[in-house]
């Protein structure tokens, strides 16, 4: 019997639970695109399906990015720093750069990738607010979710954004100049440890196990899906024109063909072999009555619920919560996509 790379790994468990029970921090630098100019808002409103025009200075918005077929090709957080200045936080920098370039005709804007200038430390967990209040000169007491502000940490100017990828009520992202990162990290590290937390160093924890517990997606989950299939259609602004709108209107009219559902492997102690798309490849096929109805998108571990948990991208209405089925011979059950409730 082989060990489970999640369940049996106390290192990962301790980093994961630090975020859930106290506070954890990690370097989470994304690629950053800066969009400026008189038409920046109008441009972003065309590129992204969610409404950007109502985004106020100092606030952020999550949105997908679609191709002409209405498929999700990126999901980003857009931050409005000034009236005509936005940051787009993406993990798709090169493609995003090209995408902006090829769609920028007729817009009075400048776009540039500023990734190398900035680092971002994500500080997450119930004690993250206390940590930030201690180390940021201005404190974060009044900072609302998806709101950002300029502040000073360790004598360096930073931008603090309230948000995160863990599902925690309190979580902050500290953007600092790349040259200041060592100083800023030292201060965060000391405060986090003093609060009983630790640095989260494991990619699988901050990219997979923490977000999955909260029902969040990592970009691979969304590959070749549309917003209706993965439950990201709610904030789409249908009153404006945006890339992929025509295709998506058809999906809205006909209904999505697939849906993302949660699942658990029933016996957490068993040695199972189920492939998932998170490592690349097609994911394990899921069959009902001999017919393939979906593929396993993700399979990780919930350290809060102590279950092997994940997502399946399945044909619509073929898998229902509570259904028991065997995946590659292993007993599984369909669940909600949230293990923090």
């Amino acid at each position: 019997m082989y060990k489970n790379i999640f369940k049996d790994d106390e290192w990962k468990r301790s980093e994961h639970m630090a975020v859930r029970e106290a506070v954890g921090y990690y370097l989470f630098t994304h690629q950053l695109m800066e969009v400026t100019g008189p038409d920046a808002c109008r441009f972003l409103d065309y590129i992204y399906p969610n409404k950007i025009s109502t985004l106020k200075v100092g606030r952020d918005r999550y949105t997908t990015m679609l191709n002409e077929e209405g498929e999700i090709i990126d999901d980003v957080v857009i931050m409005r720093l000034e009236e005509e200045k936005y940051w787009v936080s993406t993990l798709y920098g090169t493609k995003c750069d090209d995408w902006f370039y090829f769609h920028s005709d007729g817009y009075d804007i400048d776009t540039s990738e500023i990734t190398e200038d900035w680092h971002m430390f994500s500080v997450q967990g119930p004690k993250s607010k206390d940590v930030l209040n201690e180390i940021a000169e201005g404190g974060v007491e009044e900072l609302k979710f998806f709101q950002h502000k300029n502040d000073v940490i360790a004598g360096h100017e930073v931008l603090i954004n309230r948000g995160g990828f863990t599902g925690e009520k309190f979580g902050y992202e500290v953007y600092c100049q790349a040259d200041d990162a060592d100083d800023v990290q030292d201060v965060i590290d000391a405060a986090v440890k003093a609060a009983g937390g630790k640095e989260v160093t494991e990619f699988q924890v901050f990219a997979w196990t923490l977000p999955t517990e909260a029902g969040f997606y990592y970009m691979r989950d969304l590959n070749h899906t549309n917003p209706f299939e993965v439950g990201l259609e709610k904030n789409i602004d249908w009153d404006k024109d945006f890339i992929g709108k025509d295709a998506l209107l058809k999906v809205r009219e006909n209904g999505p063909e697939r849906e993302m559902v949660g699942f658990e492997v029933c016996d957490e102690n068993q040695d199972f072999y189920i492939q998932a798309k998170q490592y690349g490849g097609p994911g394990q096929a899921v069959y009902v009555d001999g017919e393939e109805v979906g593929r396993v998108s993700k399979l990780v571990y919930s350290y809060v619920k102590n279950v092997n948990n994940g997502y399946i991208l399945a044909k619509k209405d073929t898998l229902h919560i509570g259904d028991h089925l065997k995946i590659h011979g292993y007993e599984c059950v369909i669940t909600e996509k949230n293990w923090l409730q």
Binding site: Y2, K3, N4, I5, D8, W11, K12, Y26, L27, F28, T29, H30, Q31, L91, Y92, G93, T94, T115, H119, M120, A181, T201, E202, F203, Q204, M219, R220, N223, H224, Y273, Q275, K277, Q278, Y279, G280, G281, P282, A285, G290, E291, E292
Partner: protein
């Protein structure tokens, strides 16, 4: 029965490989071989050629440890500097927050699929990565190559590490290798901070891994035979865990070989280090590769199969056009440009673009092919026939297939 109709290979498969009429290679007798099959053919032929070059290298440095060590050092150094000078993080889906050498696994994963070495990533994390291969055409080249490829991956991973904030170094190990007779190739990369183990020499890259008890073994019935780009269940796309996506439109152009990437550079390095002279190294390569070529068609059934494969009409007997057909199929499969100066029962002459044939820039690849073809013609046609280079224009290799008497052959 579901009556499911599998999706077909997309029409763009091979679009960028330079074909004019069909996305297929074409024999002189108009027999077509699909792009997918051609890629496999080229990969296998080049693996056989590489295996012969490996034998030459074994003659030059007889001691296993010395040979493997030199090969690993050369491969590590070259790929490290390639990684430093030609960074490609975005192309592999390496994100800015991926510090340390674990993103090297993403480079290996994508490279494997492009080289038809299909399998799966089983683990990808800051402290541990695991990749399992079911197929590797290079598994006939000897275990030194398995060690060297592992160290080239280490070199790329270490180069990637330099572009990010400080992270954790991973030790890349090939704990199972098809070249050693294992069912799979299995790379486990593990952090010595989390999984302590004594330091080892560069060439001692077979493990064991401390985290071996986390490995995920794929049983025979679940093994795959094709890369993702040729599998319907993958929608004919390679996609890794960070969403790097490629299709099969131009993989031929990217095909590299064990000989071009590892073995011929290892021999050049052995000359540089004084294990032999350049002349002797060339002589050994010539001897071994000619013998390997002769062995390809030593039995009549191999000739019959080859004629059928090329669609050679019965009216064509034993002459140089047979080898010409084989060479043309290979050159097209490698996207190597060539001109036909003569193609008749008495002589066949090709003018081949050296730059295209010198895969990954290794110039001696051209001569290696010439030696192999000289051996092949002796058994595919008969001993009256030879292949030699003659009156080559600059940057080209003009080869002639014709009858030749040479008392010192």
């Amino acid at each position: 029965m579901t009556k499911k109709i599998d999706g077909r290979i997309p029409a763009n498969s091979g679009n960028e490989a330079g074909f004019t009429q069909y996305n297929a290679v074409q024999s002189p007798w108009n027999k077509l071989m699909s792009y997918q099959d051609a890629l496999h053919y080229a990969s296998r032929f080049e693996a056989v050629l590489s295996a012969a070059v490996a034998q030459a290298y074994r003659i030059i440095i007889p001691d296993y440890a010395t040979r493997a060590s030199e090969m690993c050092k050369e491969a590590y150094g070259r790929l490290y500097y390639t990684g430093i000078n030609y960074p490609g993080d975005d192309g592999f889906g390496i994100h800015p927050f991926m510090c340390g050498s674990y993103p090297g696994a993403l480079i290996g994963d994508k490279g494997d699929d492009a080289l038809l070495m299909c399998g799966r990533c089983q683990d990808f994390g800051t402290y541990r990565c695991e990749k399992e291969l079911d197929v590797c055409d290079w598994d006939i080249c000897g275990s030194e190559l398995c060690r060297a490829t592992t160290m080239s991956l280490q070199g790329q991973a270490d180069a990637t590490e330099t572009r990010h904030r400080k992270g954790h170094k991973l030790d890349y190990l090939m704990v199972e290798a098809k070249g050693c007779g294992d069912r799979h190739c299995r790379i486990i990369a593990e952090s010595r901070e989390k999984y302590p183990a004594p330091e080892h020499e560069l060439w001692e890259s077979f493990g064991p891994a401390v985290s071996d008890d986390y490995k995920k073994y794929t049983e025979e019935e679940d093994c795959v035979e094709e890369s993702m780009m040729f599998r319907e269940e993958c929608d004919y796309h390679f996609v890794n865990g960070t969403n790097t996506e490629t299709d099969s439109s131009n993989q031929m152009v990217n095909l590299s070989t064990a000989a071009s990437l590892y073995l011929l550079p290892a021999i050049d390095n052995a000359v540089k280090l004084g294990y032999t002279t350049a002349e002797n190294a060339e002589w050994i390569k010539k001897c071994v590769l000619e013998a390997a070529g002769k062995a390809m068609f030593g039995e009549r059934y191999a000739i019959r199969a080859c004629r059928e494969w090329l669609g050679v009409p019965n009216t064509i007997g034993e002459d140089g056009r047979l080898l010409g057909g084989v060479i043309e199929m290979l050159l097209q499969s490698l996207v190597c440009h060539y001109e036909i100066e003569a193609f008749n029962k008495d002589e066949v002459i090709y003018v081949i673009n050296r730059g295209d044939l010198a895969i990954t820039g290794t110039q001696s690849v051209c001569e290696a092919h010439l030696y192999m073809w000289q051996g092949m013609v002796k058994t595919l046609v008969n001993a009256q026939w030879s292949v030699w280079e003659e009156d080559s224009p600059k940057g080209k290799m003009r080869i002639k297939i014709a009858k030749k008497i040479d008392k010192f052959m």
